[in-house]
């Protein structure tokens, strides 16, 4: 009696196994299949969803405009996702599954440097090209990997723009205090900011880290406050940016400028904090104010792209959207150039890619990272994200110094 349900279950599993598609599903029915393990749950859920939106927008555009031409034949595109729960190991396992079981042609990156790093190792081992738009730690690109390409400016440059901007003010900012999460990306961001400050005559008066799982950062903020810096920078992600910004107000920490690597650019920052989000700076890979004229084959300007994101997802385009779409575009142009879906040929085409898009230049150095596109600085002014640096792309002037808490 006891055995019957188990046997039935066994039969069911067997049947499911037999019914599952076997052999290469890739490019079946003239479709190019991309795979991406992405943070749909876990601590990076929000960023993961923005990544997915960026991918989906591209997919829908391409499929609606006749697909991608590869050597005289047109292909539609499809993207297969798995939820990596924002965990590095899970992301790698899922990448392996995408390659071995789902037989995807190419990989699009997960969200975050930690996951991108573990997935890059799988891409390398399986010799499947991956373009990622959300892992900016240079650690990923210093391993000699041949199959991983990143469309973003590296982590160390995230907060440079904010420092340049504060140094250009009158009187210029002189001291900097940095708090950073302990993950690889945030650490590189903090090191980059400190190095830039030291090389450019600014003094780093505080530079310390907290665990990336921290639920309370008040003691770090107390120590930071004691050093009284002109510029307060945080290298981290959205969740800790919110925690830090609330903590700074709770302890009444006054600085001339507050800057974050990730946070202000995502609408949640302003919606969660209300007026307390005002006058904060964020380093960004892209903003809808940038003025590039892209190659044909996709939306050619940042403004057209922003309109499309708004129509599809009813929110303002965020740089996570843009950099994710840019990763797809790198594949689109490289595949067209290669005229083939052969992984080696596409890899070589990616390595030689040099194209301007709505997002900026996509071109990789010998390590596979994009050193050719500058970062921008945004500031939340009266609840609205305004691009304030570099002056050439700016659609507003930086508000500096920040008024005291309670007057924002």
């Amino acid at each position: 009696m006891q055995l019957r349900p188990i046997a039935a279950l066994g039969a069911l599993i067997l049947a499911a196994g037999l019914a599952a598609p076997s052999g290469p599903a890739a490019a079946a029915g003239d479709t190019i299949v991309f795979g991406s393990p992405v943070s749909l749950t876990g601590s990076l859920t929000k960023e993961g969803h923005l990544t997915q939106e960026g991918y989906e927008l591209w997919k829908n555009y391409v499929n609606a405009h006749g697909g991608i031409k590869v050597g005289g034949k047109t292909y539609n595109v499809d993207i297969k996702y798995y939820d990596d729960e924002s965990k590095n190991d899970t992301s790698a396992q899922l990448a392996e599954r995408l390659i071995d079981q789902d037989h995807v042609n190419f990989l699009l990156g997960p969200y975050g440097s930690g996951t991108s790093f573990t997935v890059a190792q799988i891409a390398e081992r399986k010799k499947i090209p991956m373009v990622e738009g959300n892992g900016a730690a240079e650690k990923i690109f210093n391993q000699g990997f041949k199959y991983t390409f990143g469309v973003l400016s590296p982590a160390r440059r995230y907060l440079e723009g904010i420092l340049q901007m504060t140094k250009a003010q009158k009187p210029p900012a002189q001291t900097v205090g940095i708090t950073a999460a302990s993950d690889a990306f945030s650490q590189e961001v903090a090191q980059g900011a400190a190095a830039w400050a030291n090389a450019n005559g600014m003094k780093v008066v505080y530079n310390n880290k907290y665990p990336d799982t921290a639920t309370d950062v008040s003691s770090i903020i107390s120590a930071l406050k004691a050093t009284n810096p002109d510029v307060i920078l945080n290298a981290g992600h959205l969740q800790d940016a919110l925690l830090v910004q609330k903590g700074l107000k709770e302890q009444n920490v006054m600085a001339k400028a507050y800057g974050y690597s990730v946070g202000p650019d995502t609408p949640d920052f302003a919606s969660s904090l209300g007026k307390d989000a005002n006058d904060v700076f964020g380093g960004a890979q892209w903003s809808d104010a940038v003025k590039y004229k892209g190659a044909p084959g996709f939306y050619q300007t940042a403004q057209e792209y922003a309109k499309a994101i708004d129509a599809a997802y009813h929110h303002r385009a965020d740089y996570h959207n843009a950099e994710s779409t840019a990763a797809c575009l790198a594949f689109q142009y490289a595949i067209q150039k290669a005229g083939s879906l052969d992984t080696e040929k596409v890899r070589d085409a990616l390595a030689k890619l040099d194209v301007t898009t709505f997002y900026g230049i996509i071109k990789f150095d010998s390590r596979g990272i994009n050193l050719y596109k500058p970062m921008v600085v945004n500031q939340i002014q009266n609840g609205r994200l305004t691009t304030v640096w570099p002056a050439l792309t700016a659609d507003g002037k930086p508000k500096y110094p920040a008024p005291p808490w309670g007057q924002r």
Partner: protein, 297 residues
Amino acid sequence: MHLFAQDLVNGILAGGILAVVALGFSLVWGIMNIINLAHGAFLMLGAYLTYQLFASFHVDPFLSLPISFVVLFALGYLIQTYLINWVARAPILTIFLLTFGLSLLMVNIALIVWTGDQRGVTTAYSGANFTIADVTVPWTKLFTLLAALAITGIMQLWLTRSKTGRAIRATSMDIGAAQLSGVRVAHIYAIVYGLGAGLAGVAGTLISLSYAVNPGMGDPFLIKAFVVCVLGGLGSVEGALIGGLVYGIVEAFATQLDFTIGTQHISGSGLQDAIALVVLLIVLIVRPTGIMGKATA
């Protein structure tokens, strides 16, 4: 000296919240011998409930404390009665997996209902603070601590004075004897699990004032609840309070620690978790039952 005092205050304020987080977890573990992996998810639901009441109806987070408690208590009571009781006699791993599954279910439902966006409960008085002798104290965190102390006090009184409270303690001491004395164990278990969930909900409400609300927010707190529980001693109200405060203070001071091993400069602030765990290890060596724990028969 000023930083020392500030850190002490920071630690106590953070520890008060951890005490409430750990309290419900500790009761369920100590009395029912269930390591409730859904505790973090209950906390998350409490936080979302607070957020939703605040965003839609402008209900002050402190006023939504009883609402979180009642709603989560009811949810916990139902889960225990209709799910966990079914597997009460199954091996411990089954219950472990069940609570884990429930946690995944709740997190994913939250993801569908509220999406992955980070939400915040930012009140008009959020961030308001006062300063005594160079030490800054944020009002919200002070009230949070007071609420935590009040909740702990009420729980302690209720467990020792009320009839149900005594039945709960009797059940935890000896199920057989309790049953013989007329205690309905299934009902008591449902109440305890409900209490655990309700207290998690209350903790979620308090946390929503300083921490971003998102579907995965319960995870780091679940881990801390585990440590605080073992540190303070299982199943005791005072244990959760003392454990929470010790953990909070240790973390606060760990942040300021700087030391050099050989040529390697090490900053304590990235190692808060590790340092807190070392303290746990030391406590377990010196007092294996936790700071306030009693040896069991």
